[in-house]
Amino acid sequence: MVEEAAQEVFLKAFTQLDSYEGRGSMEGWLTRIATNTCLNILRSAKRRPELSVADLTEDESHWFDTNAGTAGDEQQTVEDKLVASDLADKLLDTLPAEDQVALLMMDGENASVKEVAEATGWSESKVKVRAFRARRKLRETMEKLLGPKAVGREGKVAQ
């Protein structure tokens, strides 16, 4: 899916090269094409219904057991990173396309609200609302998946 998106972005960029007027940066122009292409692909993809504990694989359950109630600064193994990445895919699939894009750009790539607004063509308030909704939904689903594991063994949050 990622390769399909990348191919489509390159093809669009080749085809629309005439429309690039050189006003903004080439990077910004390409980012906008990439963002819109990804949004279209995500919109056409079927959304996953709510994620429950029963949907987790054994590795994912183990990942929760290992990471819940810790400070989070432990070294992650390559396998742990892969499990976390797959888990992120599953959780992101439950969100609307716009929320996924806002969350990945802001929380994943540390883009500012202004940068996301430029890349997507949305207003800054829309970006904020989308990111807020996405974070809240993700946190609520995560809380559900964590269950009683969320709080550390001593009943306190690890510092």
Partner: protein, 159 residues
């Protein structure tokens, strides 16, 4: 500290983007409040998996460039074809089937033997007068008989 306020802080911005003051506030409150501790853990794990998702490297297949260039050439070739030719290509099947149907109907209408319909046969057994008088042709009165009958009746009425 209001529990809703802590959760709002968590949902409003990405966890690494929180100011040290806000982070300290969230942590200290979470040590006293279980539901906020749960929310904080969920937000921390969400940030963790999103980070892993974004940083996981995606290796394109070795044929990616070849595939993109092939798709690009294909698209260019399609664009170089004149518009009427593209129109013909897309509507060729429809036009052919329409022409075939018209030819078949033409052949049928010129060469098929005329079969009288049941309605024609019925109509031929009745004359217009028979229909008007409600009689069959065998019982039909001659024109003179009709006139005589009418005028005789009129004479009777006058008398």
């Amino acid at each position: 500290m209001n529990q809703k306020h802590i959760i709002e802080i968590l949902d409003n911005s990405p966890l690494p983007g929180l100011s040290p003051g806000d982070l300290e506030l969230v942590k200290s409150h979470s040590n006293e409040c279980e539901s906020c501790a749960r929310a904080y853990q969920a937000a921390r794990l969400s940030t963790m998996i999103i980070g892993e998702r974004v940083s996981s490297p995606i290796e394109p297949s070795p044929f990616f460039q070849t595939r993109v260039m092939a798709a690009w050439r294909e698209r260019q070739a399609l664009e170089n074809v004149p518009a009427w030719s593209r129109l013909w290509r897309s509507s060729r099947a429809l036009v052919s089937s329409m022409a075939l149907t018209t030819a078949a109907l033409g052949v049928l209408s010129f060469f098929a033997p005329a079969i009288p319909s049941a309605a024609d046969e019925t109509a031929s057994t009745y004359s217009a007068e028979a229909v008007l008088m409600g009689q069959q042709s065998e019982d039909q009165m001659s024109y003179e008989q009709v006139l005589n009958t009418i005028y005789n009746d009129d004479d009777d009425d006058v008398r």
